[in-house]
C-alpha cells in the first residue's frame, strides 16, 4: 500500500540526482542511483534477436504462473471462508444455549448447567486497553523514529534501530511476567499518587486496591507495540524524497519545520499503517494481559483500580477447563474480536486510501 508513492518520488529525484549528489544523504541517493543502472544492464540477457517475440513456451510458463498465483489467491479466500464457517458452526450452539444477553451480561460462566456469558465487558476492556496503549506508545514511537531517521548519527541510528527491533522479538509472556512481578509495584504507587491528587477525574477515582489495573496492562502493551510502530515509521521517514527535504531547507525551514512540512505529511499513510499494525497486536495480545490485568467482568472507565479484562485474555484463562458450550462461547468471543479487528482494519485502509489521494493531488 505504501509502496507506490516512493517509487514515483524516486523517479522524480532521479533526474536531479546529478546536481545534488555531492551533498545528498547517503541512504537516499544511493538507492536512487542503483535504479537506472539496473534497467540498463540486463539488456544483453536475451533480446539479441532484434525484438522477436519469445516462443510459445514462454506463454505456457506465463499462463502456468498466472494459474499458480490465482490458485494461491483463491486458497486464501477458501481458508478464510472455511475458518469462518467452522467458527460460526461452533459458536452458534453455544450462543443458543446462553440464558442471558450475550451483549450486555457482565460475566463468563458458560460451563454451568445454565450457561451465562456476555461479551460487553470483555469487548470494552479490549478496546480500552488497546486505545490507551496506543495513546501512550505512538508519540514515543514517532519521536524515536524521527530521532533515528533524521537526528541521530547514522551509525548510532542503525545500532539503536537494531535494539528496537530486538525488543519486538521478546516473547509476550516475558513482558507479562515482568509486568506482574516487578512493574506492578511502581504502577501501584503511581496509581495511588494519581488517586490522591486527581481522584476528581473519574478515570483516576476509586479507593483501591491499585496495581493490577488497565493502566498496568496498557503500559505493558505500549512497550510491546512500541517496536512495531517505531521500526515501520522509521522506514517510512527514511523514504522521504531528499529533494523534498532539501527544498524545505532551501526555503529557510529549520530542522523541525522541515520535518513538519516535508517528512511528516509524506509519511502520514505509513504512520497510520504502522499504528494500525500496532493496534492489531494490542487487540490480539493474550498472555501479557491475562497475567497483568486484575480480571473483573464489569464495564468501568477507571484506569487505576484492580480490574479489566479482554477477549483474548479471557480465552487464555477459560480455555483449559472449558466444556463443549464453554469452548463454543470462547469461539463466539473470538468472532467478536475478529469483527473488531476487521472494523479497525477497514477504517485504517479507508483513511490511508483517502490520504494517499490527498497527498498525490497535492504533489
Amino acid at each position: 500500500m505504501g509502496e507506490s508513492p516512493p517509487r514515483s518520488a524516486d523517479a522524480g529525484t532521479g533526474g536531479t540526482r546529478v546536481t545534488q549528489s555531492h551533498d545528498g544523504p547517503a541512504g537516499a541517493s544511493a538507492r536512487v542511483a542503483e535504479a537506472p543502472v539496473s534497467t540498463r544492464t540486463p539488456g544483453g540477457a536475451g533480446l539479441g534477436g532484434g525484438g522477436a517475440l519469445p516462443r510459445a513456451r514462454a506463454f505456457g510458463a506465463e499462463r502456468a504462473f498466472r494459474g499458480l498465483t490465482l490458485a494461491a489467491g483463491t486458497a486464501v479466500l477458501v481458508i478464510i471462508a472455511a475458518i469462518a464457517v467452522f467458527l460460526i458452526a461452533k459458536a452458534v450452539p453455544a450462543l443458543r444455549a446462553n440464558t442471558v444477553n450475550f451483549w450486555t451480561f457482565e460475566g463468563w460462566f458458560p460451563n454451568d448447567p445454565e450457561p451465562k456469558f456476555g461479551i460487553g465487558a470483555l469487548a470494552f476492556g479490549t478496546v480500552l486497553s488497546s486505545v490507551i496503549a496506543l495513546l501512550l506508545a505512538v508519540p514515543v514511537a514517532l519521536g524515536i523514529a524521527l530521532y533515528l531517521s533524521h537526528y541521530a548519527p547514522r551509525r548510532l541510528g542503525t545500532a539503536l534501530g537494531f535494539l528496537i527491533d530486538l525488543l519486538a522479538a521478546v516473547p509476550s509472556v516475558v513482558f507479562g511476567l515482568w509486568g506482574r512481578d516487578y512493574f506492578s509495584g511502581p504502577v501501584a504507587d503511581f496509581s495511588a499518587w494519581l488517586n490522591t491528587y486527581f481522584s476528581w477525574i473519574p478515570i483516576f477515582g476509586g479507593d483501591g486496591p491499585f496495581g493490577a489495573s488497565i493502566l498496568l496492562g496498557s503500559l505493558v502493551l505500549a512497550i510491546m507495540v512500541l517496536p512495531i510502530i517505531t521500526s515501520l515509521s522509521r522506514e517510512v521517514f527514511l523514504q522521504t524524497p531528499t529533494a523534498n527535504e532539501e527544498a524545505a531547507l532551501a526555503l529557510g525551514a529549520t530542522r523541525w519545520e522541515m520535518l513538519r512540512t516535508a517528512v511528516l505529511p509524506y509519511g502520514r499513510p505509513g504512520i497510520i499503517a504502522a499504528v494500525m499494525l500496532g493496534l492489531g497486536r494490542a487487540l490480539g495480545e493474550t498472555i501479557a494481559l491475562a497475567l497483568t490485568l486484575g480480571i473483573t467482568f464489569n464495564i468501568s472507565v477507571n484506569l487505576i483500580e484492580n480490574g479489566g479484562n479482554t477477549i483474548a485474555a479471557n480465552i487464555a484463562n477459560a480455555f483449559g477447563e472449558a466444556n463443549e458450550t464453554g469452548r463454543g462461547a470462547l469461539i463466539a468471543s473470538g468472532l467478536v474480536l475478529f469483527a473488531i479487528t476487521l472494523i479497525v482494519n477497514i477504517t485504517a485502509r479507508a483513511i490511508i486510501y483517502r490520504r494517499r489521494e490527498f497527498t498525490e493531488s497535492a504533489a
Binding site: 460475566g107 463468563w108 460462566f109 460451563n111 454451568d112 506482574r180 512481578d181 506492578s184 509495584g185 501501584a188 483501591g208 486496591p209 496495581g211 493490577a212 491475562a290 497475567l291 490485568l293 486484575g294 480480571i295 473483573t296 484492580n306 480490574g307 487464555a316 484463562n317 477459560a318 480455555f319 483449559g320 477447563e321 472449558a322 466444556n323 464453554g326
Partner: protein, 367 residues
C-alpha cells in the same frame, strides 16, 4: 572406544546431577533410599504413554515421570497439563492413554469414557492430594486463624477490614491492623477454585451464596492467573489474602492461615493434617472405581479440611495390549509408597495408607 568414553562421562555426569539434586533438599534424601529399595517392585515396561489433564498434578507427574524413566530405560511418558476438561476430552477421543483430573468423571462424561474401554469402564483412581493453602500478607500478624464462616465472609466481601469483629473473634490476642482486606482469586478456571468454593459452600452456606464452580463467581477481589499468579499478587501487596496450591504458598514464603475444621479446632496445614481429611473421606465409587467424597466438615481431630483430590482416569479393562504393561507399571509406581513419599517436597500430601493400598490394588486389576 571413544563412544564408550563418552558413555562413561555421561554416566558420571548423570550420577553427579542425581547426587547433587538429592543434596538439594533433605526430604528427597529421605525419600530416595525407599525409592531405590522398592525399585525391585517396579517391573519396568517399555513403550510410550501419552497422558494429559489437570495442571494441579503437573509437578507431581513431572517428578514421577523423571523418577520412573530413570529406573526404566527406554520408556517415554508424556504428561501435558492442559486442564482437567481437556484431559478428559482427550481420553474420550483416544489421544490420551490416561487422563489426570481434578474431579471424578461426571455422569454425562462416564458413558462416553466407558465407550473407550471396550468391555470395561473408566475408573477414577485418586492419586495426587493437593492441599489448598489460604495465604496472606499482613505484617505483624503471624498464625492467623480463620473459621470457614469467616473465610467465606472475607471472600464474599462481607468482611472488608482486617480488624473486623469476626476475624478478631477467631484470633484472640492478635493485634490486627485496620487496613482493607484485598482478596485475590484465580482468574483462570481451575480445580483449585472448584474445591475452595466447594469447601466454602459446604461449610458456611449462610455466608457463601455463590455455589461451587471452576470460575470465581463472587463479586470484587482481584483475579490472577494460576497459583503462581495468586502467590505473586499476595506477595506484592500488603493486606492481601488468597487461596492457592500449597507448594506455591511455601515457595513464595507466605504466611499460611490455620483453618477451622468440624472438630472446632484450627488446623495447621501439614502433609499429615491434610492426609487425615482424605483418610476420613467416603469412597463413593464401586469396585475399583475409587471416586471419593470429601467431608469438608470433618470431625477428625487435627484434620486440615481444604484438600483437593486429583484422579487418574483409566480404563479398568480394554487397555490396548501394547500400552497395558506400561500403564500398570507406571500407575503402580505412582501409587506405591515410594512414589507417594516423593511428592511431599513438592507441596503435595501423600495418600493415607488406607486409601493408597486400595489404589494400588485397583491398579493391579487393570487389564
Amino acid at each position: 572406544m571413544k563412544l564408550q568414553r563418552h558413555g562413561t562421562l555421561a554416566c558420571l555426569a548423570l550420577t553427579a546431577t542425581l547426587a547433587l539434586s538429592a543434596c538439594g533438599s533433605d526430604n528427597n534424601e529421605a525419600a530416595s533410599p525407599s525409592a531405590s529399595g522398592s525399585s525391585a517392585a517396579v517391573d519396568c515396561a517399555t513403550g510410550t504413554l501419552n497422558a494429559q489433564g489437570s495442571s494441579a498434578q503437573k509437578n507431581a507427574m513431572a517428578e514421577w515421570i523423571k523418577a520412573y524413566q530413570q529406573k526404566c530405560q527406554g520408556t517415554t511418558i508424556n504428561y501435558e497439563p492442559s486442564g482437567s476438561g481437556a484431559g478428559i476430552q482427550a481420553f474420550i477421543a483416544g489421544t490420551a492413554d490416561f487422563a489426570g483430573s481434578d474431579s471424578a468423571l461426571k455422569e454425562e462424561e462416564q458413558p462416553k469414557a466407558d465407550a473407550k474401554c471396550v468391555t470395561g469402564k473408566a475408573i477414577n483412581l485418586p492419586m495426587v492430594i493437593g492441599p489448598v493453602a489460604v495465604a496472606y500478607n499482613l505484617t505483624g500478624v503471624e498464625n492467623l486463624q480463620l473459621k470457614p464462616a469467616t473465610l467465606a465472609k472475607i471472600f464474599a466481601g462481607k468482611v472488608t477490614k482486617w480488624d473486623d469483629a469476626a476475624i478478631k473473634a477467631d484470633n484472640p490476642g492478635a493485634t490486627l491492623p485496620a487496613t482493607t482486606i484485598q482478596t485475590v482469586h484465580r482468574s483462570d478456571s481451575s480445580g483449585t477454585t472448584d474445591n475452595f468454593t466447594d469447601f466454602l459452600a459446604k461449610t458456611s452456606e449462610a455466608d457463601w451464596t455463590f455455589g461451587k464452580a471452576k470460575e470465581w463467581k463472587a463479586p470484587g477481589g482481584t483475579g490472577a492467573k494460576g497459583s503462581d499468579g495468586v502467590a505473586s499478587r499476595v506477595k506484592g501487596a500488603q493486606g492481601t489474602i488468597g487461596y492457592m496450591e500449597w507448594s506455591f504458598a511455601e515457595n513464595a514464603g507466605l504466611g499460611i492461615a490455620k483453618i477451622g475444621n468440624g472438630a472446632g479446632e484450627f488446623a495447621e496445614l501439614t502433609a499429615e493434617s491434610a492426609g487425615k481429611t482424605i483418610a476420613g473421606a467416603e469412597i463413593t465409587g464401586q469396585g475399583d472405581d475409587l471416586k471419593m467424597k470429601i467431608d469438608y466438615n470433618t470431625k477428625e481431630a487435627g484434620a486440615y479440611p481444604i484438600v483437593l483430590v486429583t484422579y487418574e482416569i483409566a480404563c479398568s479393562k480394554g487397555i490396548a495390549a501394547d500400552k497395558l504393561p506400561l500403564v500398570k507399571s507406571f500407575l503402580g509406581y505412582t501409587a506405591s509408597s515410594a512414589g507417594q513419599s516423593a511428592l511431599t517436597e513438592l507441596g503435595y500430601a501423600p495418600l493415607p495408607e488406607t486409601v493408597r493400598t486400595k489404589v494400588e490394588a485397583a491398579v493391579k486389576n487393570l487389564s
